[in-house]
Amino acid sequence: MERPRTIRRDDGLWLLQRMRLIRQASERIARLYPTDVMETPVHLCIGQEAVAVGVCRHLTDADKLFLGHRTHGPALAKGLPLPKLMAELYGRSTGCSHAFGGSMHLIDLEHGLPGSSAIVGGSIALGVGAGLASKLAGADFVGVSWFGDAATNAGVFHESLNFAALQRLPVLFVCEDNGYSNVMPKSAHAAFDIPSLADEYMTTMTADGTDVLAVHEQAGEALAQIRSGGGPVFLHCPTKRWMKHQGHERCDIVGNGIDEQRDCPIRKLERVLLDTHLCGAGELEQVRLSVEQQIDAAIAFAESSPFPTPAQLEVV
C-alpha cells in the first residue's frame, strides 16, 4: 500500500487536533481513573486514534455512526463535545446520556451518533439499518458500523454484511482491528482473514490504522464510492491497542508487538507536517496546549455539574 505523504493544511491540522483530543483526554481519564471519580468501566483507545479521526474527517453530522463498547475515540472524532463525554463519565446529569449510559453508551443526536452498545456485534446491524433508512427515504446520508476484530466472530456480522451487499446499501463498515479480544489474540478467535472474508461480500479496503493519512485517504475513497451509489464498503484498519482491554493500565500482553515510538499515529502525522513545512514545532506544541486547556475546561464542567436525582428513575 502506498502511503500518501502530503495533506492539505486544514485537513492535517484537523486530524492532529482530533487525535490529540482523543489521546490527551484518554490519558487524563487513565490518570484520574484510579481515584474512582468515574464509576464506569472504560475501554480506552490510546494508539488507535488514527482510525477514528481518519474516517470521521469524511463524515457529516447527517451520517449515522453506530459504535460498540470502545466508544470515546470515534465519538469524539464524530463531534461529541468533550464536556458531555466527561460529564457522562463523572455520572452527572449534563452527560451526553444524562448519566444513564456511562462510558459504553454514548449518544449525540446533533452529530450523527444515535447510540452505542456494549454487547459485541449487535450494533453492526444498526449501521446497516441506517443505510437502509437512507436508501428508502431517498436521503444522502451514510450508515457507519464500527467494530473490532473479534466482532467478526458473531453471526450478526455476516448477516449484516450480506444484507448490506444484497441491497447495495450506503454503509461503511469500519473494522478497528487491534488484534485482540480482551487478552485473546486474533489467531485464537478467527479462523479466517478478515479482509479476505469481507471481500466476498463487498469492496474491501485496508489502511494502516496507525497512520492517519493512510486511513484518511482510504476512507475518502470508500465514502466517495458509497455516496455515489456504489454500495457498501468494508474498511479494514489494523491498529494497536496500547492499553489493557478495560481500565487505565498499559497492555501487558507478552508479544503484543507495540512500540510506542514507532507506532504512534500522532508522532507519525507530526513528522509529516514538519517535513512538508505545513506546520512548525511551535504550532504543534500550541495544539497540544490548547487541547490540554479544553480537557481542563471539560473536567471543570463535569465536576461542577449536578448529579442526577433518584427521581429521574421514575418509570418514563
Partner: protein, 346 residues
C-alpha cells in the same frame, strides 16, 4: 458415575472448612470433571488467565476447558449437540447479558428439545451465567433475568445464595439430565461459608429456610436472600426467610406453609417486576393460601426500567439491607411501605 449417591441433606453445615462462593464453584466444577469424564466446560474466555473471575482457574483437566470466539448463539447449539451426543457440557457466560445473543438456541432448541421428542433424549447441559450489577455498567451489563428464563418450559433455573449451595447445586445441575440455567450473582463471589470437601449434591426444587420467624414470610433468592438475612439479623426481625434456591422448579409447599403461619408475604426479587418471579410467587400463594393472607402480598423489585450507570442513580436503583429492614419493619407493623423501598418505579 452414579451421581445420585452424592445426594445431601439440604441444611448447610457449620464449623467446618470455610471457602468463598467462587472457590466453592471452582471445586464443584473440578469435582464434576473428576467424577465424570463426559463433563467439559466451554465458553468465551473460559480458558484465559482470568478463569471466569477465578471460578475456573487451575482446573485439574485443562484439556476439557475450551475457549470460544464471540459466538454465543452458535456455541449454545454446539453445546446442545455435544449434550445430545453423550457429553455433559457446562457452557459459561461472563455475563448473562452476553448470553442473550443465544436466546434462539436457548429457547427454541435447548429448552424444547426434550418436549419436542417426548423426552426420548437426555439434555445434560448446564449453562452458567454471572448475573447482577457491576460498577456503573449500565443497562447491558447488570441484568439478572431469572424470572424471564423461568417462564420458558424446559429450563431449570438455579440461583445459589451461599458457598454451600453454589457447590451442591452446581454438582446437581451437572448431574441433571435436563437443561439447567445456573445463575451466579457476582456480588456473592467473595462471600465465605462452610463447604464440605467431599462431593455432594443438593436437590433442585427444595427451598432453604434461612431464618425462622412468625410475623412475616420473606421469599428471596441469590443476593436478595443474603441482603434479607443481613437485614433480619441486624434488626432482630421476627421474619421467616425462605430462599427457594431454585426459581424453577419452585418449592411452593415450603412457602405456602410459612405464609399459613405468618399471614404475610413479601417477595424480594432483584429482577425486573413485570410478569416476574415476584409476581409468580404472589399469584401462586394467593391461589393456594388466600384465606391465610392478612394483607396483600408485597413485591420488592427493580424499577421497571433499564439500569442506570451513574453511581448516584445506581445507589437509588438497587436495594440495600437497610432499606429492606425498613420495608420488613413496616410490613410487620402493618404500616404503609414507602415507594422507594419497593423499587422506585414499581
Amino acid at each position: 458415575m452414579p451421581w445420585s449417591r452424592f445426594d445431601s441433606n439440604y441444611t448447610a453445615p457449620t464449623g467446618g472448612r470455610r471457602i468463598t462462593y467462587c472457590e466453592a464453584l471452582r471445586e464443584g466444577i473440578d469435582q464434576a470433571m473428576g467424577n465424570d469424564q463426559r463433563v467439559f466446560a466451554i465458553g468465551l474466555d473460559a480458558d484465559d488467565k482470568f478463569g471466569v473471575f477465578g471460578s475456573m482457574s487451575n482446573l485439574s483437566f485443562p484439556e476439557r476447558v475450551l475457549g470460544t470466539p464471540i459466538s454465543e448463539n452458535a456455541m449454545t447449539g454446539v453445546a446442545l449437540g455435544a449434550a445430545l451426543s453423550g457429553l455433559r457440557p457446562i457452557h459459561v457466560h461472563l455475563r448473562v447479558d452476553f448470553m442473550l445473543t443465544a436466546m434462539d438456541q436457548i429457547v427454541n432448541y435447548v429448552a424444547k428439545w426434550q418436549d419436542m421428542f417426548d423426552h426420548q433424549v437426555k439434555v445434560p447441559l448446564v449453562i452458567r451465567a454471572i448475573v447482577g450489577r457491576g460498577w456503573g455498567c449500565g443497562a447491558q451489563h447488570s441484568q439478572t433475568l431469572h424470572g424471564w428464563f423461568a417462564h420458558i418450559p424446559g429450563l431449570k433455573v438455579v440461583t445459589p445464595a451461599t458457598p454451600y449451595d453454589a457447590k451442591g447445586l452446581l454438582l446437581s445441575a451437572v448431574a441433571d439430565d435436563s437443561p439447567v440455567l445456573f445463575l451466579e450473582h457476582r456480588w456473592l463471589y467473595k462471600n465465605t461459608g462452610d463447604v464440605p470437601e467431599a462431593i455432594y449434591t443438593l436437590p433442585l426444587g427444595k427451598a432453604n429456610v434461612l431464618h425462622r420467624g412468625e410475623r412475616l414470610t420473606v421469599v428471596a433468592s441469590s443476593l436478595a436472600a443474603i441482603h434479607a438475612l443481613t437485614a433480619i439479623e441486624a434488626h432482630g426481625l421476627d421474619v421467616d426467610l425462605i430462599d427457594p434456591r431454585t426459581i424453577k422448579p419452585l418449592d411452593l409447599d415450603t412457602i405456602v406453609a410459612s405464609v399459613q403461619r405468618t399471614g404475610k408475604l413479601c417477595v424480594v426479587d432483584y429482577d425486573f417486576p413485570f410478569g416476574g418471579f415476584g409476581a409468580e410467587v404472589c399469584a401462586a400463594v394467593t391461589e393456594r393460601a388466600f384465606a391465610s393472607l392478612q394483607t396483600p402480598p408485597t413485591r420488592i423489585q427493580f424499577p421497571d426500567r433499564g439500569m442506570p450507570s451513574s453511581g448516584v442513580l445506581e445507589r437509588a436503583y438497587y436495594q440495600t439491607p437497610d432499606r429492606l429492614a425498613a420495608a420488613f419493619g413496616a410490613l410487620i407493623e402493618g404500616a404503609p411501605v414507602a415507594r422507594d423501598l419497593i423499587g422506585a418505579g414499581a
